[in-house]
């Protein structure tokens, strides 16, 4: 392989014993993570989370899963799991991580040497902040119906169309985009991957205010946007297969118990504050939720064990996403139930970020929608796991 990017971390962390590695990671996070950013109530913008991004980058820990020859840590699956667990345990904010988890693996697997050489170092040093241009107004759950088109004109593609729900597009200076390059092929077979500089003329980004009064998502409009043909990744018209492979990360990530576990700790604090902690009816509900959470952890553990053994996850991982997100919602439903009139407050109660029933409740709403709605996950389970007829 021609491309070689020197990794910043000199130590081979894979050689460490698991528990020593865990302690090593935990100690460094505790010493370096900005205290005021622990468990942020909302998804942070780049301006807010970039100190943490640069800290990871400086340490050489930004891309745990990338091979070392591309500047990553090259961690084994088992070590990556520990790394993620420690990040989640400490309540570290999610960074603008699309470059790390999506573009990096995409280019490492399918990119040309020139693409790898150009883009990977700029993810590693934070120069490029990426966003993901997938969903469209008429291609949400049915993503393959996307219509944003790219037409080859000389050595450039001309892109026209609209993307929506583009997370943190207003922060991004680059976008990886699914576009239709063959309108006559079957819908999954005419889609390609393009890498687009957000500064290109013809791109308009409009933030969408969501139910949190937060501008996490955007609409992105493309009006005769000219993209160099060399920015197409992999084989033209084969983008759908690459996109699907990238989503396997998302499916286990969305099934992680961390959101439910965090909400659950806050439920107890709220119950104590509201004076219902000792009540039998509350204790019964709390016990049921607790056991649901513990069993989710057990089920999640069986999938993590598969990754640890180097197996690839099947469609049954959708079970995790469904149960986790619906448990998250049931926990936050219970929060509102016991919160009295605080259930209508915009801000956390008493200025205490840990007593934020409405924030948690609102955040739980999209969990069953994004990453493939739970209805889509159930379709996947019934068709691909249970073999029920179309």
């Amino acid at each position: 392989m021609a491309v070689s990017i020197a990794p910043k971390e000199a130590t081979d962390l894979n050689a460490m014993e698991d528990e020593a590695f865990r302690t090593h990671v935990r100690t460094w996070i505790e010493a370096n993570y900005p205290a005021e950013l622990r468990n942020p109530p909302k998804r942070l913008h780049w301006e807010e989370n970039k100190p943490w991004y640069f800290q990871l980058a400086e340490k050489g820990w930004l891309c745990p899963g990338w091979p070392r020859q591309f500047g990553g840590l090259g961690l084994s699956p088992a070590k990556q799991i520990i790394f993620t667990e420690e990040i989640e345990r400490h309540g570290c904010a999610r960074t603008n991580d699309h470059g790390i988890v999506m573009v990096g693996p995409l280019l490492i697997n399918h990119g040309t040497d020139a693409q790898q050489q150009e883009f990977l170092p700029k993810i590693l040093n934070g120069e490029h902040v990426w966003c993901q241009g997938y969903s469209e107004p008429n291609a949400g759950s049915d993503l393959a119906a996307l219509r944003t088109e790219a037409v080859l004109d000389g050595d450039e593609y001309v892109v026209n169309g609209q993307k929506i729900w583009t997370t943190l597009a207003s922060d991004a200076n680059w976008c990886f985009l699914l576009v239709r390059t063959d309108k006559n092929a079957k819908k999954q077979e005419g889609i390609s991957f393009l890498l687009v500089d957000m500064a290109t003329p013809g791109i308009t980004v409009k933030p969408i205010i969501n139910l949190e009064y937060h501008d996490e998502f955007c609409e992105v409009f493309f009006d005769n946007v000219r993209v160099p043909a060399k920015n197409l990744v992999g084989t033209p018209n084969r983008g759908w297969d690459m996109a699907k492979a990238l989503l396997s990360f998302e499916r286990i990530y969305l099934g992680s118990p961390r959101l439910s576990a965090y909400a659950f700790t806050r439920l107890r604090q709220l119950a104590e504050r509201m004076g219902v902690w000792e009540e039998a009816t509350f204790q019964d509900t709390y016990g049921r939720l607790r056991l649901d959470l513990e069993d989710l952890k057990s089920l999640y553990g069986t999938f993590v064990d598969k990754l640890r053994r180097g197996e690839t996850l099947g469609a049954d991982v959708s079970m995790l996403k469904v149960f986790q997100t619906e448990l998250f919602q049931r926990i936050t439903d219970t929060m509102l139930e016991i919160a009295g009139e605080n259930a209508g407050l915009l801000e956390p109660m008493e200025g205490n970020r840990n007593l934020n029933p409405t924030g948690q409740y609102i955040q739980a709403r999209p969990a069953t929608i994004y990453g493939g709605s739970n209805e889509i996950q159930r379709n996947i389970l019934s068709k691909n796991v249970l073999g029920l007829p179309g």
Binding site: R268, Y286, L291, S298, L299, D305, F323, K383, G387, L388
Partner: protein, 352 residues
Amino acid sequence: MSQALDDRSESIRMIRDSAGAVAPRGGDTKRVRAQRFVAPGFSREVFAEMASLGWIGLAVPEAAGGAGLGMSEAVALTEVLGAGLVPEPLIPAMLSARLLAASDDKALLDSGKVVLTAWQEKADSIAAPGTGDAPRVFIPYAGGADVFLLPVREGNRIALVSLDATGADVVLEKTMDGGFVGTLRADLSRASRIADDIGAVLEHALDEAALATAGQMLGLMEKAFELTLGYLKTRQQFGRIIGTFQSLQHRAADLKIHIALTRAAVETAAAVLDDGATGAVRQAAVSKAKHRATESGMFVLRQCIQLHGGIGYTDEYDVGLYLRRGMVIMNQYGSAALHRRRFMALAPEDVE
């Protein structure tokens, strides 16, 4: 934990295979149906075969005359037997084997006799008070016992006595699945003392029985769901296979999730016990599994009837057999509510 499970995968596979000797692979329910309400509710020949396969002493250490396997193997076995609706009282016999291995009467362990432990004094319990003159209730298949074991409290200790079942005062009641449970009013003057202090062993054995019962429920769920999926894939209404209807597909997906949660809870708990966990950790793992198996098990079994429609409500169609058996075992060795309370009392909070 996962490592331990990997190491055991071969013995688990073997035990599953051997279970086919008793639980017909094709899911034939002819024997099970023929046995219903025929005293003592199970087949002595099949029970003897189970004993000869080493199942009764499965989790008893080899040094004490058992097979020296663990709970991971035990729940794999009870799952397959559960799916086969096998009526023989294996789990009660395994519990007795645990006690016998710790008693002065180890010979009884290999005797081939049906030894049932009369530990229970009230409905929905998992603790044995050992009240000497209290009637012992809900003894599964009590009419088939050759010998009863009774824990009897003496001060701070619980002794164990054995009692010949011949001539014992046993009152039987029929159960929903065609079996029987009995109440024993024991004449302790006829009993022989075989252990002085069995309390800790019994507590452990009751936990193991609860977990094995969770494994049995998992088998019921899996098999009833398999039948239901088959039905959804063949039954036609409105000119379509009903499994093409999205509302039914989504219901089926939810049932699959409940089965997966139950399997994860049961197998995780078995691994915790096999790792030698004691005290609160062991009890919390067992309660978590039994709670899940009962709650999700009965949910799945009820839904399987519903998804079959009218035919699911007939005695002739097999899916109802699983619900009937589920009703009998759901609260054995503690209901979901009991185990939820126990879990909450035991499990440390991990609130930061």
